[in-house]
Amino acid sequence: MSGPLRLDPDGLVACVACGLCLPHCPTYRVTGREIASPRGRIAAMRAVEAGAAPADDAFVRAIDECIQCRGCEAACPSGVPFGHLVEATRAALGPVGPWWRRAAEAVALRLLAPRHTLLVAATWVLLAAQRLRLVPARLGLPRLRAASLRPLDLPAGGSPDAWLFPGCVMDAWMRDTHRAAARVIRATGAVVARPGAGADCCGALHLHTGRIALARRLAARVVRSMPGDAPVVVDSAGCGAVMKDYGRLLGTPEAGAFAARVHDFSEWLATRPPPPVARTGRTVVVQDPCHLRHVQRAHGAVRSVLRDAYEIVETDDDGLCCGAGGLYAATRPALASAVRDRKVAAIGRAAPGAVVASANPGCTMHLRAAGLDVRHPAELLAEVLDG
């Protein structure tokens, strides 16, 4: 069976409709509707693929409402490759949503993300606009700082012990996180460098919005930008997840070998001799970015690296998504904030007012917009490095 969506038939039939995914789906949790659940979305994909239902507005909405957190995959006993099914469906549907959203996505993803210099220039313009109070607060954008936009004090290229992948939005809006990551990496005795030309963007946002061809081009450039066999350290969980999947995305042995070198920041750090840190006794609530927990399944490392300096507190929500989802918080603000309400409540139950550790820029911005004090594990560690 291969219909209009050209989905992998074996992946599609693997779902036995048991429903164990339901409580792990953020959009199902806030709506209670089958169509907003993994099981419902798969049934809808099957119906469209089999020609039993049209790929109409209701279907497009069902697919577009998925945050692609992939919490369902970790919960699925049948191993349904839900993330890949949604990516392929998005690719078959093409860009969706109202014209202004498609236009904004085209500017962000086709024009800015692949050209990092342009993105940084645009960020300066945005910063100026923020100072002139021209940017409405409801957009939930982080408050940009000129100091953060200073160039990174890192050599480009060469043959370092570890590469630090800067990425697109992260390097434009949250460069301080990279500074902190570089400090911690150096504190372990490793020589760290940033990639040479071509590492503008990992392609994750493109892949999640169905722009697979562009995602592949960006991925191929990223692979070429960090030659050799040094580990590639990524301090954005969303980027790391897709970079670990480059082997499948590009289908070449080189991409597979590159993917095997990719590590989340905490994951890499946990394999190193621990840097000397001061024990603070301060409480930190760990928020697991979905693509670290459900896709990379490397969230345990965040706890290992923070444990020496902080008292770690867990939330009781089984790693349910916070609603950020890359561009999702901007394109689906109502659902994104309903999902976030649950996460904010879970963090409040765990340790009211505590600092939150999050290893992903999207989650960080989304939760900060709700008033939480959110830091990257690298920042929390850089703060307490001895000496």
Partner: protein, 462 residues
């Protein structure tokens, strides 16, 4: 009252409510998602005013087609009725709405040292309302009792839209036990809007053991001997070789891949008693040829062992894309014989059958796995399923242990009940629902009432 956003007749959404986790398909004319008891009652009244029956469902994890919409009904979904209304830790009672997830309730009272005891394998996803509907069981119901033993009172919307409170918090409510009638009525007597459940104190000590055997016979003999010895384990579960391997592929909990049968045994209580009972179970297992006995070292290992057991049904998709899961109870003493017969039936129909079940109370779950894309497979699966259920009945068993009758086993009810029994049940149902508007065509087969013909509309494919 509900607002247009919380009700729909959009074809794609209707299609997604055509079935639950079972295989029977029906058709809904509308679906709605009330957020309060009053809205749910209004939905029932609107359906009735338009001459429609109604089907209430929670998460749709049922396997007997109990939530399959037959007779072109309005489907009323309880997922937004998900508030825990009141927890009284001293009386160990909680009032909850029907859409509260089973595991969410236990989590919410964990800090009080309490939990909700019935724990179906789908407990992370299934709702308390659905549990009440099917009188759900679970591994720990061997010692703690099934849902009925944990439901004190139910506020229901009767099929005519009136609201009634059945049962109460007193230990022995005066009058007939209408609460007892309602629990397990599979939505045929109305819809729960609030449920008072009993909360159970967490046992001070728990030991979870995994025993591996070289034959199903050895495992079954261990089960019988354990119960006969006077030990009442909190749970006593059996898995055969194929399902054990499928589960191990999913959870990696250290289930032995080479065992022909595995028992998961849990004993709980005061520390001294637990140690003694665990030693007793281990001795019995070893006397019956257990090749390995392992006790979970900590809570994490215990949780992993249970995750394996509770993911068993979903994990079979790693073997074949479709499954048909049955639910029947046989006398414990005849387990070995019935398991052998099930294997013979499966072989005769050229099908693979696996077994994972609540061995302690003889509640079998034969699981037929197949690829429905191969022509003719479904016919063989249905024929084998019926033969398996008949074999269980012939061994002195009953049709269902915990999944309910739904539509799946409706037509086998006359194998278990005579005409007078069925008539009495039909009249009880009529007392709640004289017009047959609540979940029509479920539980009782057509012709259950003496001298009546089926009154619900025809034409639905099931």
């Amino acid at each position: 009252m509900l607002g247009t956003a919380n009700a729909t007749a959009e074809p794609l959404e209707l299609a997604l409510y055509a079935r639950d986790a079972g295989v029977a398909e029906g058709h809904a004319v509308a679906v709605c998602w009330p957020a309060t008891g009053a809205q749910l009652a209004a939905a029932v009244r609107v359906a009735r005013a338009h001459g429609r029956p109604f089907v209430v469902r929670g998460s749709g994890t049922g396997l007997a087609g109990g939530a399959t919409p037959l007779g072109d009904p309005v489907v009323i979904v309880t997922t937004r009725l998900d508030r825990i209304l009141e927890v009284d830790a001293r009386s160990r009672v909680a009032w909850v709405e029907p859409g509260v997830l089973n595991l969410d309730l236990s989590r919410a009272v964990r800090h009080l040292g309490l939990h909700y005891a019935p724990d179906p394998s789908s407990q992370q996803a299934c709702t308390i309302g659905g549990n009440v509907g099917t009188n759900a069981g679970g591994p720990h119901c061997l010692a703690y009792g099934v849902t009925s033993a944990h439901v004190l009172a139910v506020e229901v919307v009767l099929p005519d839209g009136e609201v009634a409170l059945l049962g109460g918090l007193a230990p022995d409510e005066p009058g007939y036990d209408l609460r007892g009638c309602f629990v397990g009525s599979e939505g045929t007597m109305g819809a729960a809007t609030r449920i008072a459940v009993r909360l159970t104190p967490d046992p001070p000590e728990v030991a979870t053991m995994l025993c591996a055997f070289a034959s199903v016979e050895d495992a079954a003999a261990t089960v019988s001997e354990t119960i006969a010895s006077g030990v009442l384990p909190a749970a006593l579960e059996m898995m055969d070789a194929p399902i054990t391997r499928a589960v191990e592929d999913f959870v990696g909990a250290g289930y032995p891949r080479d065992a022909q049968a595995v028992l998961l045994v849990e004993v709980d209580g005061l520390p001294a008693g637990v140690a003694e009972q665990a030693a007793q179970v281990e001795a019995i297992a070893r006397a019956h040829g257990a090749t390995a006995v392992r006790t979970a070292a900590d809570e994490a290992e215990r949780a992993l062992l249970w995750k394996g057991r509770k993911s068993a049904f979903g994990a079979i998709a790693r073997i074949a894309p479709d499954y048909y899961l049955h639910d029947a109870v046989v006398p414990r003493t005849r387990l070995v014989e019935v398991l052998g017969e099930i294997a013979r039936i499966a072989a005769a129909h050229r099908l693979l059958v696996m077994n994972v079940f609540h061995a302690g109370d003889g509640n079998l779950h034969p699981l037929i796995v197949f690829d429905g894309r191969e022509p003719g497979t479904w016919q063989r699966v249905r024929a084998a399923g019926t033969a398996i259920l008949e074999a269980c009945l012939d061994a002195g068993g009953v049709l269902t242990g915990e999944h309910g009758v739904g539509v799946e086993k409706r037509d086998l009810m006359p194998r278990l009940f005579g005409p007078d029994d069925l008539d009495a049940q039909a009249r009880l149902r009529d007392a709640f629902d004289p017009d047959g508007a609540a979940n029509p065509m479920k539980v009782l087969p057509r012709g259950s009432r003496c001298g009546e013909l089926q009154r619900v509309p025809e034409g639905t494919w099931i």
